[in-house]
Amino acid sequence: MSKTLYDKLVDAHMVCDLPDGDMLVYVDFHIMNEYTSPQAFSGLDQKGLKVWRPEAHLSVVDHVNATRQRDPHDEASKLLIDNLENNCKRHNIAFYGLGDPRQGIEHVVVPEQGLVAPGMLIACGDSHTTTYGAYGALGFGIGTSEVEHVLATQTLRYKRLKTMLVNVEGDLAPGVTAKDIIMKVVQVVGAGGANGYAVEFAGSAIRDQDMSGRMTICNMAVELGARAALIAADEKSMAKVQGRAHSGTIDFGGTEWRSDEGAAHDQTFDITAAEIAPLVSWGTSPDQSVPIDGLVPTAGDTATPKAKAALERALDYMGLAAGQSVQDITIDSAFIGSCTNSRIEDLRAAAAVLKGNKVAAGVNAIVVPGSTYTRLQAENEGIDKVFIDAGFDWRPESGCSMCLAMNDDIAMDGERIASSTNRNFEGRQGRGARTHLMSPAMVAAAAVKGRLADVREFQNEGTE
């Protein structure tokens, strides 16, 4: 019988069945950060438990650390960072902390270090762990109680998900990137449309993406509610695991990690790549986006009173008028970073737009490379100079920074940000902050124009 990639991965990792339809699955590799792990370690201590296999875990500092300088910006963040280091020392777990050349955003660090390969099951106390699906690995986010469970047992209690297939076929139009593909998918499926599902992305537009683009797509699958995202392993994913620190030490198989011909999914969506335009979000949910040459929706565009109320609330929070042109929206800040779009390919795409241009007067533009390794690579290529010459603040340290504002990069009330990140929730980038999601090249275009702008108007436009 034909099996989906998802079912193959779950079957391969099943330790045993549990009563009531749960199962125990084996976790090949587990990643921790400083903010969702402390209570898991204290749970172990309270119960007098040891870590089952310390060598199968990695801890990185990324969520709360400052990126303007290496030293913690306050006592509270220092406490979290020191706490993680101490917990790792006590339990003999690898720790990539501040100043370590391997440090950075967890989901940028792991592929760089060659710690993801097709066929693996990877868990992390972070919702964007879906990123690893780009490699044909089953990655998913877990809560702190589950972090404790995986530390103590190397397993998780798991309930098999339904599967959804999203086909994106054809060639993308110029200026359209992986970020636009996934924002389109979120728009079509809806913010909670994939709750209870593992989503497999397929079709020529997905296969044509490089690994960085595939990671962007799988990363944001959680914004449609998917607990896991997958793309079939192929030569590209196999090539990308070579030449890294852990290459040669990890092998779970290769391109056989794909769905069988004719495998049945519970739901299917078909999207035509050519119909995707560069998108920007206008509201407070990632599914609220429009093409850059479009208009902010009006209440007439929505069917139900409930939808109308949601739209009005979002417009009110965002300080926008229904029906206004998206390109008339002026910005205060531009932010390039996050586990969605801070890899070297993203920085190159944004730099291509910025080359020879200047950030508009009054716009505060920040770029935080996804990892220390990525930053050094970019500096080696001279990309830092392009950003700095254009007027961007090129950050010397890496982390999540203004994506979720857990460090000192907190947007002010009412501040409007063009952002290469993944969530435009109320208060995400600071209390009252107004986030517009878009690709890194589009953030660069917006920074130059001082308003939301169409990347296609730039001669030397970036491609991912």
Partner: protein
């Protein structure tokens, strides 16, 4: 965990309430599970000067005493932070009734004994109407029989068997799974050398 949750329902119909809204990040800089009640839904409950927002349902009597929320679609989406569930519990919330929840939030709730009954849109909208009536009286979420009772109304709800059992038993999953250590070791014997990840320190 008792097999029932009893209490007043509050209507909180906003869709896509994410865990950033449930627990804003400024309350996350902590290494304990405690002290999160004040942070829960803080930007909706309090204004910039930390005064209560009178328009928010949990600031209005009788719903200041509510222990059950009736919520909009896709409640708990976004970040994996379990702090959102800890905070709701510390605020006195014991049940959240909705049409569907984000996966990580759902699992976090199960680990902490927060009941999340799933009902149809029609039933949820009915319950929202009832919850807005200050005279409605208490609601009962009967976990054993998967039934919500309020006044003369009874509604069956969805809850998967494993979540229901976990809530009723109130067990510690970590300790419970360690009883299966032998099965875990048996699985590990099948792993090749290169399937045993060994992270460089």
């Amino acid at each position: 965990m008792p097999d029932q949750v009893n209490g007043l329902m509050a209507a909180f119909p906003q869709p896509n309430v994410d865990t950033d809204v449930i627990m804003p990040k400024r309350f996350l800089i902590t290494i304990t599970r405690e002290g999160l009640a004040d942070g829960t839904l803080a930007d909706l409950r309090f204004d910039e000067e930390n005064n209560k927002r009178p328009e928010f349902v949990l600031n209005q009597p009788p719903w200041t005493e509510a222990s059950i929320l009736v919520v909009g679609d896709n409640f708990g989406c976004g970040s994996s932070r379990e702090h959102a569930v800890w905070g709701l519990m510390q605020l006195g919330i014991r049940g959240v009734i909705g049409t569907g929840f984000a996966g990580i939030f759902y699992d976090n709730a199960r680990k902490n004994g927060l009941a999340l009954p799933i009902v149809s849109t029609r039933v949820r909208d009915d319950l929202l109407r009832i919850a807005r009536d200050p005279e409605a009286g208490d609601c009962t979420i009967d976990i054993t029989n998967r039934q919500i009772t309020v006044g003369s109304q009874h509604h069956l709800f969805d809850m998967d068997d494993a979540t229901r059992a976990a809530l009723l038993e109130g067990r510690d999953d970590t300790l419970d799974s360690l009883k299966l250590a032998q099965s875990i070791r048996a699985y590990e014997t099948k792993l090749t050398e290169k399937m045993r990840v060994n992270v460089i320190q």
